[in-house]
Subunit: 394 residues, 2 copies
């Protein structure tokens, strides 16, 4: 048998992170590899109450098929909550998806023909790169600094890239770098998107998890003509196991996402949507988010403090004001994939940074997560990493 | 703004059924349009117990990210249950999807380049047609009779269609016709797939809902070299609101589905998978399926009896031995879309059959569902349809 697969399958590879996560489920591993929320903060007791209520008050509807767009009361709440990011939305602007990963896949499906170019930050989110690759696109990476994508570089690249078809960015506590864009760059991005007539996919899974300062207005809040597609998720502010995310876009564009959702899986889980909606009715999500932020802030502080003490000074790392990740840049001659093997020998895991660059290179980088491990393990794990890194410099 | 969408978006249209379902949520409508299970049979009380148990015994894991492949204990149970269909499978052969619709979308993504041909039954499932169209394929429809796809016609078509890349079939109580293939056609299909070296996607959402006689072996049970992909779902035997389906395929092929699932939405809902698994631990799904079958059998009998009395003799319909649908063929000069408008005036809904033919035509057909409406409404609705049909012949 020589079953022929579609061309696109040549570009689709296993996510290094997902494969790594399988290795790191052993209990002795101190894992900074995943982007997992802290499970001890999940509202388990509240979920029991909420589920019983949903099943008692409308069990049959909760277990039945429902509309592709999603449960309207939940869409209303999502739309209202987006005011925090400076976005005035209504239920009709929202499509419920299975986490924001599904919004990424749909974005590729809706906008990309083979050979089209996605403009993204350098580095960018691995899961998005993999999702887009299924549509046989190319990537042009825009250089970044400590404040995200550099707008002069973006303009230069847009001018030189007639095949650009989509701009993809994560402006808040970016995965993998933890960096956040200032307001002027957000505004400028929209101006450039208008000038070059491109859609912008703004991926914002972490924006609400800000440990200090004010939440900046989203890029979509500067959208003047409905070209910015906002992807949100409850995976980080509530829990990922329910798989509830959303797309917020203008009518012309959202219609396409809804059509694609119909073909892709008809609808997201009816009961999960109703459970989340009931949670938002009965409990205060803001209070829950405060608890998450307190925990993650403490873990970030502890991790960065320990890095300061344990990492050789040649290793640089970002200072994230929120989110889940810090990003380490090693001396150029080191390869993070090799060091990961050494770290795993000491039962510590992280993600080598090379995979976050769609066009390769930058093997002297890695992503380190601080949200998932308890504090004693953060200290112990970073110390062990310090030993591996110190050893590597000898 | 003139945002450019990908070419594939030109072929993606709203599912007529999904749009119809929106119209038919008014309580006064007697709807034979959807493919909805009977909600009064959903195990609501059992779901309460099951959910509490899952959250009490492992709430944190149930709300966390998990593997793309799915929850292993559930995969084991699915694999074991496939013995009913003559398939010897193990957990590693199973990928959990969001209903079988997601398996359809992935099949298109994995096998189809633009211009490739899907070989399907005439008519075929609308949701599959729409899912595949997103990959810019063409369709060649194979003529059918009361026993499904005609193998001589299939062979003739395969010989004449070098661009054929996938065979898609629903051999058990087909959506939309309710027809079932005999064993010899199933075997022959595999022989022809081997001869022309094509993958076969066997879609089987209804097979377990057999009201009389024995469940025939699946097409996959005759698979000799791992070219048959089996798509299953709990939407009809349990409930659709959880969105749990699966793909069963050989290792080489399943690996591709897992990769595509990673990019598409990372994983299916952790908690839904654990809830279903717990239900299967605590309760007897076979007993539950018996209840469903008893109800649907009664409804089918009542519907067909009422059709016999109320429909003009020029209207023919299939006798389904299981599943959810019967298929009506009207005199050639009638158009079911026009008659649907008349029926809606009498608050009765069905799905015109034309949409189930990817290359058009056959507007004198319609699909009628008997699983969702209570018995008094079945009688009343079919009588009203009888009036509409009788009127149309005048």
């Amino acid at each position: 048998m020589a079953i022929r697969f579609a061309h696109r399958m040549e570009g689709i590879k296993a996510s290094e992170i997902r494969e790594l996560l399988k290795l790191t489920t052993r209990p002795e591993i101190i894992s900074f590899a995943g982007g997992l929320p802290a499970p001890e903060l999940f509202p388990v007791e509240e979920m029991k109450k909420v589920t019983l209520k949903v099943l008692e008050e409308g069990g049959q509807q909760a277990l039945q098929y429902s509309t592709t767009e999603g449960f309207t009361p939940l869409r209303e709440k999502i739309a209202a909550r987006m005011a925090k990011l400076g976005i005035q939305a209504k239920a009709d602007d929202i499509l419920i998806t299975n986490g924001s990963q599904q919004g990424l896949d749909f974005s590729g499906k809706i906008f990309l023909n083979p050979g089209d170019v996605v403009i993204c930050e350098s580095p960018s989110y691995l899961g998005a790169i993999n999702a887009f690759k299924a549509y046989e696109c190319e990537f042009v990476e825009v250089p970044t600094d400590d404040h995200g994508m550099i707008m002069e570089e973006l303009e230069r690249i847009l001018e030189a890239t007639p095949k650009a078809r989509m701009i993809y960015v994560i402006p808040d506590f970016q995965n993998p770098t933890g960096r956040t864009w200032p307001v002027d760059r957000r505004k400028r991005l929209v101006e450039l998107a208008v000038k070059y007539d491109l859609p912008v996919v703004e991926d914002n899974p972490y924006g609400e998890l800000r440990f200090e300062g004010e939440i900046p207005p989203s890029i979509k809040s500067f959208d003047t003509d409905g070209r910015v597609i906002f992807l949100g998720t409850y995976s980080k502010t509530f829990c990922p196991g329910l798989r509830i995310g959303w797309v917020c876009a203008s009518e012309e564009i959202l219609t396409k996402y809804i059509l694609v959702k119909q073909g892709a899986d008809l609808q997201s889980s009816t009961i999960s949507q109703r459970e989340l909606n009931e949670f938002l009715e009965l409990y205060n999500l803001d209070e829950h988010v405060e608890k998450i932020k307190d925990t993650y802030r403490r873990r970030r502080d502890l991790m960065l403090q320990t890095m300061k003490e344990a990492f050789p000074p040649e290793f640089k790392y970002t200072y994230p004001e929120g989110g889940l990740f810090t990003w380490v840049t090693m001396p150029k001659h080191l390869n993070a994939r090799d060091l990961m093997v050494k770290a795993l020998e000491k039962n510590v895991a992280f993600v080598p940074g090379g995979s976050f660059f769609p066009n390769g290179g930058h093997e002297n980088t890695c992503r380190i997560n601080y949200s998932n491990m308890p504090e004693d393990k953060i200290v112990e794990g970073i110390k062990r990493l310090g030993q591996v890194f110190t050893e590597a410099l000898k």
